[in-house]
């Protein structure tokens, strides 16, 4: 028997790390479960809290719940992935051209979930490698785009966000002098031609602004280097948590951290699954206004 040597595509796929056969299937299995749970809860959350309520959002929430229910049984897990792929593609098409980037990412994740069988080790290997590439590419390009567009050098981006978004206003309130905060808040958006400047002159804020894109690029590239991979993955998780404290897109943040956990040597997707279920449960309780929001939304 001869063993075929891996092609260039397989070698490129493997740049994001090898896999321990002992945890391979389990990681993919628990990641799949989280994705199905995440999509269902997120869809109900959107339907419940985004007014006016849309019949389309209700339909998507119902279909994702069906996928979740099917996916809980091993016998139906493949079908759940396939139906989920159709639903997420329909959702992307429904919202187009206003489709959010995180929905495209969810589409790619569900594509992998639908394609590969968690019961077959060879398929798990391909799936996990494919999934690991996603956070790497997303973070890398997010950093590059911030660098190329140039609004992070003088923190102009944050300046505008403070002027229009109470999440950012709240985040930066303790970090900025009252006068500067008032000036930015007064600028607002839209504004007359010539209004501004939106730049923030505070050195710590400019430093923080530049650290965002620099860390996104460096940490994501670190995921490609075996010696730095674990540290880079931890850095990425901390970076995502930091970004979400300001942006508060917590569903996306939790999904992204689950993607990054696939880089861990140990099976953290399974071990931390209860923690993420607790998070989704809390979000569900927020949906019914049974618990405080604690700034999560």
């Amino acid at each position: 028997m001869t063993v075929a040597s891996p092609g260039i595509a397989d070698r490129v796929l493997a740049w994001v790390g090898g896999d321990d056969p002992a945890t391979l299937g389990s990681k993919f299995f628990w990641f799949r479960r989280y994705v199905l749970l995440h999509l269902a809860v997120e869809a109900w959350f959107r339907y419940t809290l985004e007014l006016p309520r849309q019949a389309s959002d209700f339909s998507f929430a119902l279909l994702y719940t069906l996928c979740l229910a099917l996916g809980w049984w091993r016998r139906w897990t493949r079908s759940a992935g396939e139906i989920c792929l159709i639903v997420v593609l329909a959702q992307i098409a429904w919202w187009f051209p206003h489709t959010a980037n995180h929905l495209y990412l969810e589409g790619l994740i569900v594509l992998v979930v639908a394609l590969f069988d968690p019961e077959r080790p060879a398929e798990c290997t391909a799936a996990l490698r494919g999934l690991r590439w996603l956070p790497l590419l997303v973070l890398f390009y997010s950093g590059v785009k911030k660098l190329v567009y140039g609004f992070y050098f003088d923190a102009s981006f944050f300046g505008q966000m403070i002027s229009i978004d109470r999440r950012f206003l709240g985040f930066f309130r303790p970090l900025l002098e009252a006068d500067e905060l008032k000036r930015l808040a007064r600028l607002g958006w839209p504004a007359a031609a010539g209004a501004g400047p939106y730049r923030i002159d505070s050195l710590p804020i400019q430093l923080m602004s530049n650290l965002v894109w620099a860390c996104e690029i460096l940490f994501s590239l670190g995921l490609l280097l075996p010696k730095l991979r674990r540290a880079a993955a931890v850095g990425c998780v901390l970076l995502v948590i930091g970004i979400e404290i300001a942006a508060r897109e917590v569903f996306f943040g939790a999904l992204f951290i689950n993607l990054l956990l696939l880089y861990a040597a140990r099976d953290l997707n399974r071990r931390l699954f209860p923690l993420f279920v607790a998070f989704l449960l809390w979000m569900t309780l927020i949906m019914f206004e049974l618990v405080p929001r604690w700034g999560l939304v």
């Binding site: 397989d10 959010a100 790619l108 594509l111 398929e123 390009y141 997010s142 609004f151 839209p190």
Partner: protein, 138 residues
């Protein structure tokens, strides 16, 4: 298994290539950089789309105020602005022109000017981008 791997590799190759092309496509077509899977969300400040409706009366240009239209027409013009801010030049205002001609039978000529307000990375101030004008005759 081979076809599955091919699908995966194709998707990843698209994810590598598209964000490189994305800013050029966005620039060429005046699209919203936050959209279309270019991973430029939170990379650029928000922009604001302006749409001016101008009646051509001989040599004169008369700005049409939104309050001169029915509520339905106002909603549709607002929706056009929303779509235009994302789709840019892919969405010329032909339907808005038809709407104006239908609502205001006395109008013979119409100019629709679309313009985006953006923050300049150089000056950090609001700088209107070059306007695009569309001319219509009944």
């Amino acid at each position: 298994m081979r076809w599955k791997r091919r699908v995966l590799l194709t998707a990843l190759a698209a994810l590598v290539a598209w964000p490189i092309a994305h800013p050029f496509v966005v620039e060429a077509l005046d699209l919203d950089p936050w959209r279309f899977c270019g991973f430029a969300m939170y990379a650029t400040p928000s922009t604001y789309q302006r749409v001016y409706l101008i009646e051509l009366r001989g040599d004169r240009e008369v700005h049409l105020h939104p309050s001169w239209f029915s509520d339905d027409a106002k909603d549709r013009i607002q929706e056009y602005k929303r779509q235009r801010s994302v789709l840019g030049e892919l969405l010329p205002p032909h339907e808005v022109a038809e709407l104006v001609f239908a609502e205001r039978p006395e109008i013979e000529g119409l100019k629709i000017v679309v313009q985006r307000d953006a923050i300049s990375a150089r000056t950090s101030r609001v700088t209107p981008e070059p306007a695009t004008a569309f001319l219509y005759r009944r």
